[in-house]
Amino acid sequence: MSSVMSTASAANSDDLIIDGSAYQSRLLVGTGKYRDLEQTRLAVEASGAQIVTVAIRRTNIGQHQDEPSLLDVLPPQRYTYLPNTAGCYSAEEAVRTCRLARELLDGHTLVKLEVLGDEKTLFPDIVQTLEAAATLIAEGFRVMVYTNDDPIIAKRLEDMGCVAVMPLAAPIGSGLGIRNPHNIRTIIENAKVPILVDAGVGCASDAAIAMELGCDGVLMNTAIAGAREPVLMASAMKKAIEAGRESWLAGRIPKKRFASASSPLDGTFF
């Protein structure tokens, strides 16, 4: 009983803290690329995510204004919305997007900043990202920032006042997994703000590896929405994030070249 209690209290004390708010889930999910809103809802529920990213786009004028919207199926009272600047290729576009999102979501200031460099790689444009981050922070936004896996830039973004730094594991939507675990590790070791892997995860083991490196969380969309069974993959990702986190907290054994028997040698009768 007491061990059950202590496990429960340990779990409670392991919340993810972003900008002073506590989250029990370390999996953040995007809401794009699903078949329909119902599949979006089911996948987000199966993922256990509490923070969901959304895009800000033009309203379709004259079309189906009575159709349910994302805000109907994922109520903002229940989920923390993370408007993101996906699709922006300049600091100016990203800043305008965040200002519109703040107005749309009644003064909500937590945003995901992403300024892209080119369409082939979707790598971040770091010069534009730094410029946008400075403007947004000065305007009172709480910025979670997508960046590459460069430890120097990650630290710079933290020092500017970003509330979380989110290096890519691999190109957006590539599913290649963690391409540079050593850099991700270095970014984590240097950081005082949460570090979340954002982009590149392809399957549940990739998510677990990110967490075993010591990441505070993982943000993904395509790996779930693009799976053959998105709702099942969402459930797999939830477990992988939890397993990876516990594995990190538990502390892995050192790797050795040769075997080390797990049964005692004392008392053998042969």
């Binding site: 995007g30 895009a55 996906a86 993904m220 969309n221």
Partner: protein, 68 residues
């Protein structure tokens, strides 16, 4: 007067307010945000904001999106 709404030129009556435009477009019950010539017009000012000919208006909403 001509206004450019979400990238499309539209002919609309002079002296149109933001509230009147939203009603004209049937968007009263939609959660949205508006930018006019790259400046936010808060919903609280829709009644008192009047458009000028040539204004470029963006009306946006939240939709499913990345994450990656």
């Amino acid at each position: 007067m001509e206004l450019v709404i979400n990238g499309k030129p539209e002919q609309l009556p002079d002296g149109l307010s933001a509230s009147a435009l939203i009603a004209h477009l049937g968007l009263q019950s939609t959660r949205l945000a508006m930018e006019v010539n790259r400046e936010i017009v808060p919903r609280s000012r829709f009644d008192s904001h009047y458009f000028q000919p040539g204004d470029r208006i963006e009306i946006v909403r939240a939709i499913g999106g990345g994450g990656q």
